[in-house]
Amino acid sequence: MVPIELVLALGAILFCIGLYGVLTRRHLVIVLVCIELMLNSVNINLVAFSSIGPFANITGQVFTLFVITLAAAEAAVGLAILIALYRNRESIDAIKQDLLRW
């Protein structure tokens, strides 16, 4: 049996990688992928707690299903907005989106 600390550490590492990617990447598709990575680290946590946690029960897996669904919805809307942005600006480089500042 894998100790739960290892799985939680995996979740934490994934979360940090995702956050780092969101903060540093310039390509907006990669940024959206990094957000998915952060949400997936939550899924790992929930599934770990639900199977080998101190109070293991099925609720965590149900929560995971909701998170997956809503992450998909958010990605769909995000990509749609990305296409609208590309049509207007001919670029999806995060640095170049600077009309709105201060």
Binding site: F15, V22, L28, F49, G53, P54, G78, A84, N88, L100
Partner: protein
């Protein structure tokens, strides 16, 4: 355990009715073709919101539970009413806006606002982390679409992409915090978590604090407190003006409902640990929001920073809680005042910016000479937001101030008082434009449309009446228990 057959689903009547009506409006939109203006959908949306509000009053009067996922109590009822009235005003503003902007696709605009409202209603009456999160995402995803609704506008798409990215990160933070809360208790019910937390805090203080902080970061994004506020001015400037009004009132108050529910019900026992954190956030928010607003030239950006500062004021009572019912009365009173003052101001801002075609403060130039009634009313809203005696804003701020002193947070009360004085300066910037400068020579008299005049009159009546005789709702707010 909850069985689907035993649950009292009638408690959800307002939500179910609103969902059906929103889907109906969505369908009517398909049936009436792609092009053209559809004002009847706007009227239908207002009617469905009023129907829902009536149902909230009649069916949600007593408290009840559906398992441990959905609760109807006074807190949920009052917040739902505030939200529904706010959305009805927002839709009236949007009808004027959409008339002026025929290129914005009309039908989906209304149904998206209604779906967002549904999300907000679910948020304020859920007592389960999953339900809470689903409501939050329903509100957020609809708001992402609404922010980018002017498809052809560069600013609007940029605002939308910024909102999606930062909103997604905020959701991830909230969920990461929630996952630890679930892991330590084995349940997602907020009430059970609140019951088990004192013991858990003794066993695992650091994990509980970490989970609380992660959730606070995410919630901070949603209610736009400093230092998580940077999305707000950008999104508010780029989004269509009625959507800005929606975000700064409905979305913010619904997220506040979420914060109050989670912090008062679930984290009640660790109050001493988070009170100072919230107080510090409130102080920074009030200072930064009010001072950056001083330099703003764009009226929507100015309202964004003003909204950030208002979020700071609203956090003060929570940080200085003595008794949860008193805190809730203070916050709800300020919430009511905030809805009317902000939406009244946004109605006039929408009307003025759409007729002048620009969003600078100078578009208000000489408004008093072009339409005296609107200029005076706008001055009332702005002075109310700043907190001049005689308006609802003053009474609300006075309650918050007294509450902070009673809660032994004198320094917070002083910061609030000082920053409120600073806020007079930038609100007076608009008032000076309206009254002290002559209009441009080719700007004649400006006629206000009926819809805008109506909501502005309603809002100004509410602002003044609540400012002069606040007892009519405070005596009601003080007469019951807010949480089940």
């Amino acid at each position: 355990m909850l069985s689907a057959f035993d649950a009292n689903w009638s408690l959800m009547t307002p939500e179910i009715v609103l969902l059906v009506l929103a889907l109906l409006i969505f369908t009517i939109d398909f049936m009436t073709g792609i092009k053209g203006s559809k004002p009847f959908l706007g009227r239908l949306s207002v009617v469905s919101l009023l129907i829902t509000a009536v149902l909230v009053v009649f069916t949600n009067n007593s408290s009840g539970f559906i398992g441990e996922i959905f609760v109807v109590d006074k807190f949920a009822m009052i917040f739902k009413l505030i939200i529904l009235v706010g959305v009805a005003l927002v839709i009236t503003i949007s009808m004027h806006y959409l008339e002026k902007n025929p290129d914005v696709y009309q039908g989906e605009f209304y149904s998206l606002i209604l779906f967002a409202t549904l999300g907000a209603m679910i948020m304020v009456s859920s007592v389960d982390l999953i339900t809470l999160f689903v409501g939050l995402e329903l509100l957020s995803i609809s708001s992402y679409c609404l922010a980018g609704f002017k498809r052809k506008s560069k600013k609007s798409s940029e605002a939308a992409i910024k909102y999606v990215v930062l909103g997604g990160v905020a959701s991830a933070f909230i969920l990461y915090g929630m996952s630890f809360l679930y892991g330590l208790t084995g349940t997602t019910g907020i009430i059970t978590i609140g019951r088990e937390l004192p013991q858990l805090y003794v066993d695992y203080p650091y994990i509980i604090m970490m989970s609380l902080l992660f959730m606070l970061v995410g919630f901070g994004f949603k209610i736009s407190i400093v230092p998580f506020h940077m999305w707000a001015p950008d999104v508010y400037e780029g989004a269509p003006t009625p959507v800005t009004a929606f975000l700064s009132v409905v979305s913010k108050l619904a997220a506040f409902g979420l914060v109050l529910r989670v912090f008062i019900v679930a984290f009640h026992s660790t109050f001493n640990e988070w009170a100072f954190i919230l107080a510090a956030f409130a102080a920074v928010t009030m200072i930064v929001g009010n001072f950056i607003a001083l330099t703003q030239k764009n009226v929507k950006r100015l309202m964004a920073y003003s909204g950030i500062a208002q979020a700071g004021y609203l956090l003060v009572p929570l940080a200085a809680t003595v008794h949860e019912n008193a805190t809730m009365s203070i916050i709800a009173f300020y919430g009511v005042a905030y809805v009317f003052m902000t939406l009244g101001a946004f109605a006039i801002i929408t009307w003025v910016t759409e007729s002048s075609g620009k969003e600078d403060l100078t578009s208000f130039k000489g408004l008093f000479y072009r339409n005296p009634y609107m200029a005076i009313v706008m001055a009332v809203f702005l002075l109310g937001l700043a907190g001049l005696p005689g308006t609802a804003g003053f009474v609300g701020k006075a309650y918050i101030f007294i509450g902070a002193i009673v809660g032994e947070m004198l320094w917070l009360a002083i910061i609030m008082f000082a920053t409120s004085i600073v806020s007079f300066y930038y609100y007076f910037g608009i008032i000076r434009q309206m009254f002290m400068s002559e209009p441009n020579p080719n700007d004649g008299e400006l006629k206000a449309p009926l819809g805008i005049t109506t909501i502005v009159t309603v809002a100004v009546a509410a602002t003044v009446i609540l400012g002069v005789i606040p007892g009519i709702i405070t005596s009601y707010f003080n007469s019951f228990n807010w949480f089940f």
